[in-house]
Amino acid sequence: MATPLKTRISAPRSNDNVVNGIKYNRSNSKRNNFEMLAWLFMRVSGVILVVLIFGHLFVNLMMGEGVHRIDFGFVGGKWANPFWQVWDAVLLWLAMLHGTNGIRTIIMDYAEKDSTRFWLKLILFLAAAFVLLVGTLVIFTFSPCPTGSPAELLPSFCPAP
């Protein structure tokens, strides 16, 4: 199974076979491991996401008074802790990349024309990049008591300016 014969033989490749306007040219020279890594990422991120999501749900909805204590202050308190910042950032990135790749897969499977595929994927990637950027920015720069804001706009727990 492992003898490097590539230098002497090459895999048979058909020229473009066109039937009813459809080109059956699945083999091109641009081979890389992207699809393999994407496939692997879906499995690995899926397992990690199960832990992250159920941890997130348990901490937010079950512990203490449960869902009733969630308010602006609760979120602010969580993001004051680097542990939850990292947790939420990892959750955001894995969920977004996992979901984006899933939709990319659906686009590949259901869009029939290459141009449709291109535009749908472009919209998808732009949307994903936007959410990732804004999400990451919020998680790491969130400040519940911004200095210089009028006192009536600040939550009650902020120290008086």
Binding site: M1, A2, T3, P4, L5, K6, R8, I9, A11, P12, R13, S14, N17, V19, N20, I22, Y24, N25, R26, S27, K30, R31, N33, F34, E35, M36, A38, W39, L40, T105, M108, D109, Y110, A111, E112
Partner: protein, 272 residues
């Protein structure tokens, strides 16, 4: 023929010319072929003839069949006695040549291996060409894209060692490693049942991967790496979504989805 005809619908002129095709099978209670149940079967066949119309349509036929008959016998009866223009492929008619894969009641089957007694005959039986390959006429599709993918995985033994004077030895365990995938008859029932293949036909498809598997895991073959590289393609094994349509469609009972998963694992093992 005479005893068969006694049970059938009014004798047509064609009947006399129909070749003897039924073997006399004794039924369970010891009766001869007269004891075999006969029933009326309605079959709806997807017809397409580009010389007449670009539109495909359904034709309905009512025929009287026997309990031992298969869907292929229905098609024969229609073609030989009712409408000679009906076109379909079949060669051996015994589940080995893989010519008569078609979509029967919405599932890919071999017409020659689908017994009428296993179908719900209270409703019409629908027969369509397999999907995802260009239809040429009625139930005949252009298999070239399918065979192109098959050729591209190099479905032949590649061995670089000295030509042996006798057969190449292989242990029973090594032979058993790929036994399941040797059963493929290239009928295209799996590939044309795959929703990923339906989209644009670019995916290599289950059948090509099964036949690559047959050589990748053959201890006598040396080109496994090349085949894994071919299948590590944008249109290769990673497009498999494990919907198991192929495994369900395979008339030889090959565990196709499992074979594809094994190829995926082999590609991963070789990369890390």
């Amino acid at each position: 023929m005479a005893s068969t005809a006694a049970n059938t619908a009014p004798k047509s002129d064609f009947e006399a010319r129909e070749p003897e095709s039924k073997v006399s099978i004794a039924s369970e209670n010891g009766e001869g072929e007269n004891g075999i149940k006969s029933y009326d079967v309605t079959v709806q066949i997807r017809r397409y003839n580009p010389e007449i119309s670009e539109e495909a349509h359904w034709d309905e036929f009512k025929v009287q069949m026997f309990g031992t008959d298969r869907v292929l016998d229905v098609l024969h009866k229609v073609k030989w006695e009712i409408d000679g223009s009906l076109s379909f492929r079949r060669s051996c008619a015994h589940g080995i040549c893989g010519s008569d894969a078609m979509r029967i009641n919405g599932r890919n089957r071999l017409a020659c291996k689908t017994l009428l007694k296993d179908l719900d005959l209270s409703k019409p039986i629908t027969v369509e060409p397999i999907k995802g390959l260009p239809c040429e006429k009625d139930l005949i599709v252009d298999m070239e894209p399918f065979f192109q993918a098959y050729r591209e995985v190099m479905p032949f033994l590649v061995n670089d060692s000295h030509e042996p004077e006798r057969e190449r030895y292989q242990s029973q365990a090594d032979r058993a490693r790929f036994d399941d995938t040797t059963k493929c008859i290239l009928c295209a029932a799996c590939t044309s049942s795959c929703p990923v293949f339906w989209t644009d036909g670019q995916y290599f498809g289950p059948a090509a991967i099964v036949n690559a598997h047959r050589f990748i895991f053959d201890s006598r073959d040396d080109a496994g790496d090349m085949r894994l590289e071919i299948l590590n393609d944008k249109e290769g094994v990673w497009r498999c979504r494990t919907t198991f349509n192929c495994t369900e469609a395979c008339p030889r009972g090959i565990e196709i989805t499992k074979a594809i998963a094994e190829v995926k694992q082999a590609i991963l093992a070789r990369s890390f």
